[in-house]
Amino acid sequence: MKKLGLFGVMAALLRREVSVALRQKGEVLTPLVFFVVVASLFPLGVGPESALLLRMAPGVLWVSALLAAMLSLQRLFATDHADGSLEQMALSSTPLGLLVAAKALTHFLLSGLPLVLMAPVLGLQFGLESHSLGILMLTLLLGTPTLSLIGSIGAALTLGVRGAGVLLSLLILPLYIPVLIFGAGAVEADAAGLGIGGHLSLLAALLVLSVFFAPLATKTALRISLE
């Protein structure tokens, strides 16, 4: 039998997550549809005046993307916990922190990336011009992995708990605020002709911090939930 290195194990986990997701396509599409629906609610709520919508667009699209990314977090560990696979991962000789990071990465690929690709379409509905659409996509691309990583902490903490879905949102939405401020802020700043180097560096810094610290918190929370 061949031996697998660390990358081999993580690749195996990635392959597993992706193949499961592709066989349950509905679960991948639901957050995307949610994104479209929520973003469309705002014009219905505030009126179709184009100047107002244009002004609101970065914030509205970012908030809708954030909520949609959060939707699928609950299932991150729940199905594996129910069939015993999560215990096997916790008992694996591969560090749980790495496995958790791989899970967050697949969450980004299956949830975050579709949002990034869908955002420009919605942006057009709000009247954003093509340059702003590009910045929007870039900020979402930098921000959604962070959302997946921070979200995995919440998913691990609320595993198997009553009312997990709503509790998860309450726990992690405050933690999402910095990403929201810098992400939406970048699009606005760009539209106002100001530089966005600062925003993008801060988003990148948040991503790097999450990559290093979120898996640590998540794996601690998972072991606590498995006790």
Binding site: I153, R162, I177, P178, I224
Partner: protein, 245 residues
Amino acid sequence: MNTQKIHWFKFSSPQNFYFLAGRMWPWFAVLATVLAAVALWIGLVMAPVDAQQGQGYRIIFVHVPAASLSMFVYLVMAGWAGFGLAFNTRLSGMMASALAPTGAILAFLSLATGSLWGKPMWGTWWVWDARLTSSLILLFLYLGFIALQSSIDDPRRADKASAVLALVGAVNIPIIYGSVYWWNTLHQGASVTVKGASIAPAMLWGMGLMTAAFWMYAITMTLVRVRAIILDRERHTEWVKHAVE
């Protein structure tokens, strides 16, 4: 006075701490009352009327101390929680649980007083200034902690899980506060504060004493609350059965 060294570790058992806390809290209650009385006298009577804001600014003597202390309490709570997680002590988790409601109340008080200040100043009940918004987010962090604790049945697991949450929150607080302050300066919002140049020394004394008063109050309430938590968690032990007779 007993010249023997105090064996502090003795008090890490819930039973011993219960009785220690029982003797300690009245002292802190007295301190809190005295400090608050002095601070209020300074704030309401002694401090001069502000040039721009008139008498209404006096609410700062409650608003700023409540806001600062609510954040301090969160860090202390996270500290206890982290200690409990690292050393697997039961009492640390109970202390963190006891601190949470007080911290939440202080955060809420900061919001309420900020709101009361805003109405006469700007005619609105809420202003998205940096301190108020940060206090609001801090309140959410407290509520999240309390909600997570109450939704997990097993107390040990609840303590450990909320400890992780408190630590993650504590690490994030500087980042969140920083981003909110940055967001606020960008959007040039109204500010719930007294301008720096016109802060009289009396005002600083008043705020300082009130902060100390709130601190003593927080300690009092935490000690009282932790006693109730100890009784609840340890109710199956012999000493509790005797204590509640």
